[in-house]
Structures are given as structure tokens and as C-alpha cells.
């Protein structure tokens, strides 16, 4: 069973590293054209690489398409788009270094980041330099982080949609367990959200296991939680979905499995079986899904994008492959509307739009209840289920709807785990 995606990721990542990543990877620089530089301060190597590098690939595809069509017109000028990346490998010191370089030396107009402690570390700089910064985690927003926005992904909030769908379609599932890593920005945020969602859906959480990153043997953890005989096994935003699924398979779990991401599900199928993996619920679609051709989806030619991506980077598709591009597109629309590429202007224009563009439609600015500023766009989010070995969107559910009714429950659970809220 050849797993070539890893090969590919490794080759490109090594090539990138050896080419001197900090020098940046310019895309389509045209000497006489005016160029907008967009910075990406992301992990391109290391454990978090799958949530950074594929995003760069996606953005390059988008940028190439735009440049080939003559660029984008903002105000009275045509611009080409240039992506400049910096690999911080999820190290705080490197992140700060990269941010300063992108802003002070490269002169970017926006910095896209993954999120988490790496974003917290650059917030003072973002504020001082008034640099528009984006993240995939609204939980990074603080009352003072005006320049930080989350315009596409709204982790961990959208996880509630999966639970809602599960509860509606499988009313007999009454108990759940949660197993995930115990880091603040991913595992705990996600766990608290799932707990809130389960509570609202009337499902009882009978056990929660938050483990460290040094676990190599998931057998005891899985045995321990399965002893409580749950109907639902929730992996929240675990980095270890593959070994966990393996354990569930070996230990004969027959209930429903729900997770935030299920990257590389083909590998999971290889290690277990298609029958076992069918029915797993998560939140990230493949972009060749016909459901994305519906009305209200705000992404140009998703099936075409998917095809181009898989052609150039056959085994690198991950949850973030389309998210950074979506943020880029969102920025471009904001710049067009503002008639300017300056961060302060674009930010103002984006925020003033009461119905901002959102990938899956129904977008609204949200967040002050939880984090002090309405700097995250929430809208509809897809619920994805594995069917016949493929990820298929079952439904788009309204996140705003759930939040309007239940944000107090969410705040309660977040506080219980020591997470910061206002």
C-alpha cells in the first residue's frame, strides 16, 4: 500500500526548505506591473505542516488564475498578486521573526496565519504596525486585537453543526465520549465546543480524555473510554484521528464517530476498512463535491479548483487547502470595495459590510460575546459524512442560528476548561 502523499509533501517541503524559505516564494512577479504582496506566515514543515503548506498551494493556484486574467483592478490600478511565504514550523520565536520580516522588509498588505499560540505572539506587532492579519481560529481574537480577523474558518464554533445533524438523524445515540489532545488552542477549544453542542442536543458526555502530544500508544486511552459504553465517539480536533480510528476498529466499536477533521481518510480506510469508516461525521469537504455547485456558495469554480489542486499536488489535499484561498478572495473583494489596498482601509470596508461574503453563505460578523470583538465571520457550514469511502456533504447548517440560541452554553463550557472569554 503505497502512501505517496507523504512523499510528495516531503519532497516539496524539503525543496522549499532548501531553497531558503525565508527568502519567500514569489509567484508571478511582473517587473512592470504593480504588485500586491500577500504574506503567509505559516507552518510549512513540522507537525503542523498539513495545516499550512496546502493553503499556500491553493493560494498560488488562485493567484496564478487572477494574474493570467490580467490581474485584479482595485481603485484605478490593475494589480498582480504575489504570495510571499515564511515557514515558522509552529515555533513562536520563528513566527515573530517571520512576521517582522514580512511586514517590515517585504511590505505585505496582509498576513495570513494558521492560528493559535503563533498568532498570540504577533498580536502586539500587528496592532503597532496596523497590519491586517487573518487567522483560522476566532479563538485568537481578543478585545484589543482590532487588526485580527477570521474570515473563513471559525474553529471551533462550526463543530456544533455536526453534532446537531447527528442528533437529528440518529436520535437513539444518547451518550458520548470525547478524546483529544490537551493543548489550549485546538484540543481544548474543540472539546469545550463539542461539550456545549452535546448538551444542547440532549446527549450526555460520559467521559472526556485529554491527552498530551507524547502519547504513542492509544490502546489504554481508547479502552478506558469505551468501558463507559458510549454511543458516540468524538475526536474533537485531534491530531491523532488515524491511530484513534485504528484502535476503535480493533476494539470493536460499533457506534457513531464524529470529528472536526479527518485528514487523509484514505489511509484510515487502508488501516481499517471501508465499512468501518463509512458513516463517520466531520466538517471538511473535498472540493470536487457537487453540493458545492449550489446557490449561495461563494467560491469561484470549486470543482475546477479541486481538479487543479489534485493535478499539481496529488496527495496534499487537507482541510486548509481551500481556506486560505477563500480568505485571499475575501480580501480581494474587500480591497475592490474599498478602492484601496491599505490594510486599514480594507479592514474598515470589510467590517462595515453587514452581510460579508462567506464561502458557504449566510455570513455575519460575530464574536464580541465570546472574545470581545465581532471579528469572525460565521455563516453556514457543511456537515460531511464518509459514504462509500468518499467525503460527501450531507447538509449545510446555519452556525449563526445555533449561536444566537446557545452561546451562553458555549461560554459556560469554555470557562470550565479555563479558556479565555470575555
Amino acid at each position: 500500500m503505497k502512501i505517496t502523499r507523504r512523499d510528495f509533501l516531503k519532497k516539496t517541503a524539503t525543496g522549499v526548505a532548501l531553497a531558503g524559505v525565508s527568502a519567500g516564494l514569489p509567484v508571478n512577479v511582473f517587473a512592470n506591473e504593480k504588485t500586491i504582496k500577500i504574506g503567509m506566515n505559516i507552518p510549512m514543515t513540522g507537525d503542523y505542516a498539513p495545516w499550512g503548506l496546502p493553503g499556500l498551494y491553493g493560494c498560488e493556484i488562485i493567484a496564478n488564475d487572477i494574474n493570467a486574467a490580467g490581474g485584479v483592478r482595485i481603485g484605478n490600478t490593475d494589480y498582480k498578486i504575489e504570495m510571499i511565504s515564511f515557514d515558522h514550523a509552529y515555533d513562536t520565536e520563528k513566527t515573530i521573526q517571520g512576521y517582522k520580516k514580512l511586514v517590515l522588509e517585504d511590505g505585505v498588505k496582509m498576513v495570513m496565519m494558521l492560528g493559535g499560540s503563533t498568532v498570540s505572539s504577533i498580536l502586539p506587532w500587528a496592532q503597532r504596525k496596523k497590519m491586517l492579519t487573518t487567522t483560522l481560529l476566532p479563538s485568537d481574537i481578543t478585545p484589543k486585537s482590532e487588526y485580527l480577523i477570521a474570515t473563513c474558518e471559525s474553529h471551533p464554533l462550526y463543530n456544533v453543526t455536526g453534532v446537531e445533524w447527528l442528533a437529528e438523524n440518529f436520535p437513539d445515540a444518547k451518550t458520548a465520549v470525547i478524546v483529544t489532545n490537551n493543548d489550549v488552542e485546538w484540543g481544548l477549544q474543540s472539546a469545550s465546543t463539542y461539550k456545549a453542542a452535546f448538551e444542547v442536543a440532549g446527549i450526555k458526555v460520559v467521559d472526556v480524555n485529554l491527552h498530551g502530544f507524547d502519547v504513542t500508544d492509544f490502546a489504554p486511552i481508547v479502552s478506558s473510554v469505551l468501558a463507559k459504553k458510549p454511543d458516540i465517539f468524538c475526536m474533537a480536533t485531534s491530531f491523532y484521528t488515524t491511530p484513534l480510528m485504528e484502535q476503535l476498529y480493533h476494539q470493536g466499536f460499533k457506534g457513531k464517530i464524529i470529528s472536526c477533521t479527518l485528514d487523509y481518510y484514505n489511509e484510515v480506510i487502508a488501516k481499517t476498512s471501508k465499512e468501518f469508516v463509512n458513516g463517520t461525521i466531520f466538517q471538511f469537504p473535498d472540493f470536487n463535491d457537487p453540493a458545492l455547485l449550489q446557490e449561495g456558495i461563494h467560491f469561484p469554480d470549486p470543482n475546477g479548483f479541486d481538479a487543479k489542486f489534485r493535478k499539481d499536488h496529488p496527495n496534499d489535499w487537507s482541510a486548509v487547502a481551500w481556506e486560505y484561498p477563500a480568505i485571499l478572495l475575501n480580501w480581494i473583494e474587500g480591497a475592490k470595495a474599498a478602492g484601496s489596498i491599505e490594510p486599514t482601509e480594507v479592514l474598515k470596508t470589510l467590517k462595515s459590510n453587514k452581510k460579508p461574503n462567506f464561502v458557504f453563505g449566510g455570513g455575519r460578523w460575530w464574536g464580541s460575546k465570546l472574545w470581545g470583538l465581532d471579528n469572525a465571520i460565521v455563516g453556514r457550514w457543511p456537515v460531511v459524512v464518509i459514504e462509500d469511502g468518499k467525503a460527501r456533504i450531507k447538509e449545510f447548517r446555519s452556525l449563526t442560528g445555533w449561536l444566537d440560541k446557545n452561546s451562553d452554553v458555549l461560554i459556560k463550557h469554555m470557562k470550565a476548561l479555563g479558556l479565555h472569554t470575555v
Binding site: 507523504r6 516531503k10 514543515t45 513540522g46 507537525d47 485529554l210 478506558s224 491511530p243 485528514d263
Partner: protein
């Protein structure tokens, strides 16, 4: 009750692995007096070998295990010849050299396997053994347990029933006296590190289908090996095996009831306590000066 029994089984199987790495470390320290900080990386090389040859290129599992053992043994021998022998008078220097190797091996792993998420090796033995209706042990783990036990058994036989084995034990007990008896210390050192390397390679190969394979996996191995070595007694091989099983059970149970990080903290504290109360550990007799 079922959980307790399941945890005991899980713990014993883990104990098999812990024993393999700890015994290797003790052998190297006992005979050569040097702390091999790169021991975790030797295990990692074993695991990567299985990933590269078996998972990526389809070579059958059992031959790949043998290849892993041979490869790691060779690395160990090279380390002895070029690093530990020249620095044999200064154990600190030897330790520092092993740290250098640690880095080099980690980078090698990154280059071979690429960065990114941990690698996974699909288990060659699928399916689960079910005992008494509720105890579940995947066949892969059953296999690993028996092979570890066989490996340790072979080592025991070697050390107690062969002349070479006795020579090894003699050098571990008293280097100078052994040299006076005509035992070739260099040769014995090579054998010690060769065996230690072989055990590490075996451990890595067995662990490969059961764990996350990445360039940093050696970190936990070395911590575990240290804890087990200290608790078992630095000079003692049987102590290492006993301590390995005890510690594995201890760690498994605490993980189940309190979580993995707490289990490791407790393990480290346990080690400090042993160092304070009985530095020679459970079975150790020699306190090195």
C-alpha cells in the same frame, strides 16, 4: 474490572518494549560506562526502516525486522569505534558525542521521511484476539509481545550460558580486573553496543505498526529508558527487565485514570525518589564513582 484486566494486558505489552530499550541502554552503560543519549534515535531508525521498506516499498515484514536489527547494530558499532572508543576516558565527552549523533539521526529521519504529520505503518497482522469475551488484544500486539520476550530470552541465554556473555558481565562488573584476566575490552565494548543496538532496532521495528513514527519519537523512548534504568538499578539487566514491566504497568494505569502527561510527570518523580532513597535501584549492586 474489565478495564483493569485490559489495562494489565496493555501494560504488559508495553513492558515488553520498555524492557527492550532499557536493557540496551543498561548494557551500553554497564560495559562501556557511557550514557548513550542517542538510544531513542536508534529505536527510531528501526521504526523508520520498517516504514520505508515495508510500508512504502512492500518488502515483507519479517525480513524487514531483520534488516532493521542489522542496520541499527551497524550504526551502534560505528558509534563505538569512532566516538566512544576515542573518548573512553571521558564519559561526559562520550555523552556529548551521542547527543551529536542524536541530532544527525533526527535530521536523517526528516530527510528520509519528510516533515509533516507522523507516519503510519499499517499492521501486517490484522484482526484482534478476543479472550473471555471482553479482553481485546490486536494480533499485532500479541506478535510484538512474543517477539520481545523471545529477544530478551535469547539475551538471557547469551549472557548466562555462553563464554562471551560471561565476559560481558565481567567487564560490566569490573573493567580493570577483566582486562587483567585477558579479556579484550574493545571487543567486548563492541559486542555490548552491538547487542544494545540490535535490541533497540528490534524494539523500533516492532513498535512501527503500533505508534506514530516521526523524527521526535526518540524523546519519549530515552526518558522511559532512563526511568526504567534508574528504577531497576544501573548495573543490573534483570533489574531493568523487572523495572520495565513495573513501570509500564504504572504508566498505563495512571494514563487510564489521570492522563498521559501526569503519568510521565509521575514517572519522572518516581525516578527522582528512587535516586534519593535507593540510588542503586531495585536490583543494582554497583554504585559507580
Amino acid at each position: 474490572m474489565e478495564l483493569i484486566l485490559q489495562s494489565i494486558i496493555n501494560g504488559l505489552i508495553q513492558g515488553g518494549f520498555f524492557a527492550l530499550f532499557a536493557v540496551g541502554l543498561v548494557l551500553i552503560f554497564g560495559v562501556m560506562g557511557v550514557v548513550n543519549f542517542a538510544h531513542g534515535e536508534l529505536v527510531m531508525v528501526g521504526a523508520y526502516t520498517v516504514w520505508l521498506l515495508h510500508a512504502q516499498n512492500g518488502i515483507p515484514f519479517i525480513p524487514v525486522i531483520l534488516i532493521a536489527i542489522i542496520l541499527v547494530t551497524v550504526i551502534g558499532l560505528l558509534m563505538e569505534r569512532f566516538l566512544f572508543r576515542p573518548t573512553c576516558n571521558d564519559p561526559l565527552a562520550g555523552l556529548i558525542c551521542s547527543i551529536g549523533i542524536l541530532f544527525i539521526l533526527q535530521v536523517l529521519a526528516t530527510v528520509v521521511g519528510g516533515d509533516g504529520p507522523s507516519k503510519q505503518v499499517p499492521p501486517p497482522y490484522q484482526g484482534t484476539l478476543i479472550l473471555f469475551d471482553f479482553l481485546r488484544v490486536p494480533y499485532q500486539r500479541v506478535f510484538s509481545f512474543f517477539v520481545s520476550a523471545a529477544g530478551l530470552g535469547t539475551l538471557w541465554y547469551f549472557l548466562t550460558r555462553t563464554k562471551l556473555g560471561w565476559a560481558l558481565r565481567a567487564v560490566a562488573l569490573d573493567r580493570e580486573a577483566s582486562a587483567l584476566q585477558g579479556i579484550n575490552i574493545n571487543r567486548i565494548s563492541m559486542i555490548a553496543i552491538g547487542v544494545g543496538g540490535a535490541l533497540a532496532g528490534l524494539a523500533g521495528a516492532l513498535m512501527a505498526p503500533l505508534t506514530n513514527i516521526n523524527p521526535h519519537m526518540g524523546h519519549n523512548v530515552i526518558i522511559t529508558a532512563f526511568i526504567v534504568t534508574i528504577v531497576g538499578g544501573v548495573g543490573s539487566l534483570s533489574g531493568a527487565v523487572i523495572a520495565a514491566v513495573i513501570y509500564a504497568l504504572f504508566h498505563t494505569f495512571i494514563t487510564v485514570y489521570f492522563g498521559g502527561v501526569i503519568a510521565t510527570i509521575c514517572g519522572l518523580l518516581l525516578m527522582v525518589v528512587v535516586l534519593i532513597i535507593k540510588p542503586t535501584g531495585i536490583m543494582g549492586v554497583r554504585v559507580s564513582e
